[in-house]
Every structure is written in C-alpha cells, then in structure tokens.
C-alpha cells in the first residue's frame, strides 16, 4: 500500500511513484481488478454502476490528500463534484437541445427546462458550454478558482478543524439552495436530465458505457499517480507535518496558508473530474447528488478505504456503494442501521480503515509467515487537535 511520505524525497519520478515493493503490488492488483476482473465478471448494467462508483473514488482520493494527509476535513466535496458534473451536463444538454429536436418549444434551441420556466434566451454563462474544449477547460479550472476563493480567507485567518468542516458543509448547502432556487437556469430540483450525445457519439448505448468505464479507470489511475507524486514531494511532507504539529511548522518559517489552499484546490479538482465522468455515465445531474448528505457519504467511503491510502479510497468507494446497492434493494431499513454503525465503528475501531487492517495486521502476518522481516508495532494515527 502507499506509504506516508516519511521517506526521504528524492530519486527519479518512477522511484517516487512506486516507492517500495508493496506499492507496485497494490497498483497492479487494483489494475487487474478494474481492467480485467470487473469487465469480464459483471453485466453491462452492473459495470456501468461500477463506473459510477469509481467516479466517487476521484473525490475520495482528493479527500485522502486533503483530510488524511493534510488534516483538513471538508464536508463540502459535493460542491466541486457538482461543478464538474453540472459543467458536463450543461454541455451535453446544449448538444441535446439543438433547434431541430426542440422545435416544439416556444423558443427552439434552448434546453427544455428553460422553456418551461419562461426563459426565452440562453443565459450568458451557458455560452462557453457550447464548445467541448472550453467545457473541459472549465471542468478543470472552475473548481480550482472557486475553491481558492472559498478557502483562502479562512485558511489565512487560521480557521481549521471542526469550524472549517462546518463552513464547507454550509457551502454545499448553499450551492444546493442555489441550484434549487434557479430552476430556469440550472433545472432546479429535477436537475439536468435527458442527456444523449457527446460530440455526436451516443453515450447511452452499452458499448459507449463500456468505453466510458475504461476511460474512467484510466483517468483514475492518472489521478492516483498524480496524487502519489504530490504526496512524495516536499510539499507532501510539510502537509503531514502541519497536520500533526501545526505550531512547530509555523515557527519553522512556513506559510501554511498557501500549502493548505493548494491541497484543498487539488482535492476540488479531483472531485470535479469525477463529477464530469459521473454525468457522462449516469446521463443526468441533479442537486440531490451533490447535497449535504452525499458529501458526507464521500467522507465515509474514504474512511472505510483508509484515510491515508489513495488506493484504499478506491476500494472504499467500490465496497460501500456495492453494499449499499445490494442491501438497500433487499433490506432498506437494516441498511441505514448498518450504514450508521459503520461510521461509528470505523471511527472507534479502525481509524485507518481497511488499508490500516492490511498494513498493520494482514501484511505483517504474511511477512512474519514468510520470515521477510520482524513484525513492527503499527503506527497510530495522531490525535488531531485544533
């Protein structure tokens, strides 16, 4: 599994990405599962669902960096997930509402929900979404800009910990109300539905969804490597240091604001990429996918996978969502109890999540069986004082 960046940084790029035997092993296992096992094992419908869950994993990788490694808990990742998702949905919606197919509307050529809400002209902020390159650029830049603006003043004023978590939660609540309140511009509570094609390519067919699944997996690995690289740099060490001993890092002369803003914006970027891929696979976007509750769900996926382990976060997102789908189809009542208990259990018994079970117990046990090395005492997560 990926190790915390306690080792001396240095060496080539590949050394940093694959530091240690187990790191290569964990990437290989994940690649085998995602590229070989799941596509061959699952039906097209289930594979599409797995692709959907993997989109959450992007946001979870961001949370591993932001929460696990930097100690900044964000309850508002749904906001950035939504920025990516809505950007993609707006592009697809404009493509789906060309003047021919919307000729029955009183104003042809604008999305149907605008027509229902007596909007007669395309609003100015929809124009960039007419071009695909511009949409992609917005998916990548908009979350960074917005997250920087949102968090800069708070980090500068040394707002951290619980208070920052509450503020991010209110941000996501605010964006929920914003979308619901602007029915004519963003589709309101129903969201943006009925998305059909991407540059003329029908995204609803089975083959298209399979291709999108593989695109998601490739992007996911790109993000995994990128975040591993970020953590392996000196910046990653400063982040871990300020999580554990904030005062000491400050007195060593570091300006923590810029570090924190960077990692928060990076997490936002990952969430936004995930959101865009989510819309492509699901075919719609609605405010209830990005509200307060889904944002906290992202946290629990991360916590189950292991808050210090980027690869673990992917497993967390897959496992919890699979369990959710299976249980809530069969026993919806029981599932809520299990889900709630999961939060408590993870926090009380397994603060390092499944990745912690692996590194602290299973791997040590295997190694002692193979006589590779003597079992060392597992490291504990430091208490986060604010």
């Amino acid at each position: 599994m990926t190790t915390n960046s306690l080792k001396q940084p240095g060496g080539g790029l590949l050394d940093r990405l694959f530091s240690g035997r187990s790191s290569i092993l964990s990437y290989t296992v994940l690649a085998i599962i995602l590229f070989l096992v799941l596509p061959n094992l699952l039906s097209a419908f289930r594979l599409n669902m797995a692709g959907k869950y993997l989109c959450y994993a992007f946001a979870c990788i961001g949370l591993v960096l932001c929460w696990g490694h930097a100690g900044i808990l964000s309850l508002g990742q749904g906001l950035f997930f939504g920025i990516g998702g809505y950007s993609m949905a707006m592009f697809l919606k404009l493509e789906a509402s060309d003047p021919e197919s919307t000729s029955i509307q009183s104003t042809p050529g604008i999305p149907d929900f605008m027509d229902w809400n007596q909007v007669t002209e395309l609003p100015w902020f929809w124009y960039p979404y007419k071009s695909f390159p511009l949409t992609v650029a917005l998916i990548l830049t908009l979350p960074v800009i917005i997250s920087c603006i949102l968090c800069f003043f708070y980090f500068k004023g040394r707002v951290t910990g619980v208070v920052f978590a509450i503020i991010t939660q209110s941000m996501v609540a605010c964006s929920w109300y914003f979308i619901v309140g602007n029915q004519g511009y963003f589709g309101g509570i129903n969201g943006i539905t009925d998305l059909k094609t991407l540059n003329g390519w029908d995204i609803r067919t089975e083959s298209a969804q399979k291709i999108l699944y593989f695109v998601t997996c490739i992007c996911l690995f790109g993000c995994l490597f990128l975040s591993k690289w970020v953590l392996s740099t000196r910046l990653g060490r400063v982040l871990a240091a300020q999580r554990d001993k904030e005062e000491r890092v400050r007195f060593s002369g570091y300006n923590l604001t810029s570090f924190r803003v960077f990692i928060f914006a990076f997490a936002a970027l990952l969430a936004s990429i995930g959101g865009a891929l989510f819309t492509l696979q699901v075919g719609f976007m609605s405010p209830n996918l990005i509200g307060v509750v889904p944002s906290i769900d992202l946290i629990i996926y991360t916590a189950v996978g292991g808050r210090l382990c980027t690869v673990g976060a992917v497993y967390g997102a897959l496992l919890i969502n699979t369990a959710k789908t299976m249980f809530s189809e069969a026993y919806p009542t029981v599932w809520v109890f299990i889900y709630g208990a999961l939060f408590i259990l993870i926090v009380l018994a397994l603060p390092k999540g499944l990745a912690g079970v692996w590194t602290d117990h299973v791997r040590l046990w295997i190694r002692s069986l193979l006589k590779l090395d003597s079992p060392a005492k597992p490291k504990k997560i430091k208490s986060q004082t604010t």
Binding site: I166, M171, F343, I344, V347
Partner: protein, 308 residues
Amino acid sequence: MFAEYSFEEIKSILIMQSFGGLSLLCIYVLMGLGLYVVFGQMGVINMAHAEFLVIGSYTMCLASKFVVDHMPTFINHYLWIAIPLSFGVAFLVGWIVEWLLISRLYKRPLDTLLATWGLSLIMQQCFRTFIGAREMSATLPDWLMGSWAPTDTIDIPINGLVILATTIILTTGLVIFTRKTRWGLRMRSTSQNRDMSQALGINTKVTDRFTFALACGISGIGGAFLTTVASTSPTAGTAYIVDAFLVLVLGGLGSLFGLVISAGFLALLSSILEFFMTGSMAKVWLYLIIFIVLAKFTKGLFSSKVRT
C-alpha cells in the same frame, strides 16, 4: 406603497413583523443552545444535535397523544409534565450516548463529527421504525393556540410569546447555572484545563457526561417547544441543522452572548431577504453574507478571550 395605510396600522404591522423576527431568533437560540454547551465544554460538534431536538418533539407529541386518549380533562395542564419529561428523555439518551461513544473521542474532534453523523442516521431510522415515518404534531391546549391583542390592530400569537419566555428562561437559567452553582464551577474548570481540574479532585469524566447530557436535555426542551410552531417527522431536524451550526460559528463558538446576537443577526437578515426574493435564493444570499462576514471575522463575531 405605505400610502393606503394609516400611521397606526403601519405601527402595528411593524410590531407584528418584529415579533415574527423575534420568534425566529428564539428558535435559532433554542437550537443553538445545546450545541453551544457541548462545543464550549468539549470542543466537539454534535452532528446528531437535530435528533435530540426531535426526541424532545416526539416526547411532547406522544405525551399529548396519551393525554388525549386516556385523560382528556387533563389537556390544559399536561405541558407542565411533558416539558420536564422531554428534558428527562433527551438527558437520559445523551447520558448513554456520551458513555458509549463521545467519551472515547475527546482528543479527535474531526472523528467525532463522523461518529455523531452515524449516530444521527441510526437515530433517524429508529424514529422511523419505532414511531413511524409520518409527520406528527402535538395536540396543544386551547390557551396556547389563541392570540393576544393589546390593541385592535395588533395580534400577537401566544405560542410565540411562550417560545420567547422559554428562550429567556433557558438562557438565563444556563448562565446562572454555569456561573453560580457548584456543578457550573466544575464544568467551567474542566473546559478550561481538563488535566488540572482532574488533579484538583474534580471528576472530569462525570462532569463531561453530565454536561453532554445537559446539552441534550436543553435541546429536548427546545424540541418540545418547536412542536408549537411546526410538526415533527424523523428528519425534521435536518432542515435546521446547518443553520444552527452557522449561528454557533458566527457567534464565536464559546460565547453565549455571541450566540444570541448572531441568532438575531440571522433572523433579521433572513426575514429581510425573504421579503425580497424566493425562499431558496434568500437562503443562498444569507449563507453568502455569513461566509463574507466569517472571512473577515474568522473567529466569529464574539469569540471568547479565554484560552483553552
């Protein structure tokens, strides 16, 4: 726009509107009080706070149902038993929750957030399973439903007055309790320096447990009075919870005075904004204004000067 009204009428509209705003302030304070006690004492945000409000509301509803079914003559007076009962039930649940869960998490405030969120999911599902998913409301005594008319044009609802009185009593009671009593002294010393208090012979574990349970009990009373203005459902609390957190953060987390002032600020702002725009856009602007204020005053409007 005021041309067709006489001066007297404008005056009464103004009074009734400001009373409406005052009621909203009281509701914010009632919701924020429990959070304030827990955070001020232990630096923990209780995400299951809304569910403790709902416990109070349900106790009230069930008590009124019991009274209506079994002793209808008692209907005008059952409040005096139902209110302490909702305090007691919420206090007891809070005591158990602290014992089983919160007491293990004091050094990890961010994890407490997650654990209490899990707790809130479980509690919501319990309400749904054992009490029912439908909305419930208490049968209120007749004297609470009327309105008080000091002049011909002014009409002030009695339940608003009762909520106002409760808020004042609870707030002053809390201040007196923390400042003047032995228990309050223990609570304050534990919150300032837990290790030192323990060294001086204060049982900080019991103090923490009592404080948490007290906060839950206060929320229970708050919830019981919320039944006089709104109906109760398993997820009723979630609508208020983000607002309650913001009131607390804006007020500066450790300050009761700040809590009341920021509740007033929010109530004023939201009634002004709702006059000009739709409900959800008013919420958006309300939040944005709070974000801007917090960006300037990052410690809240009235942060306590005591270092913990």
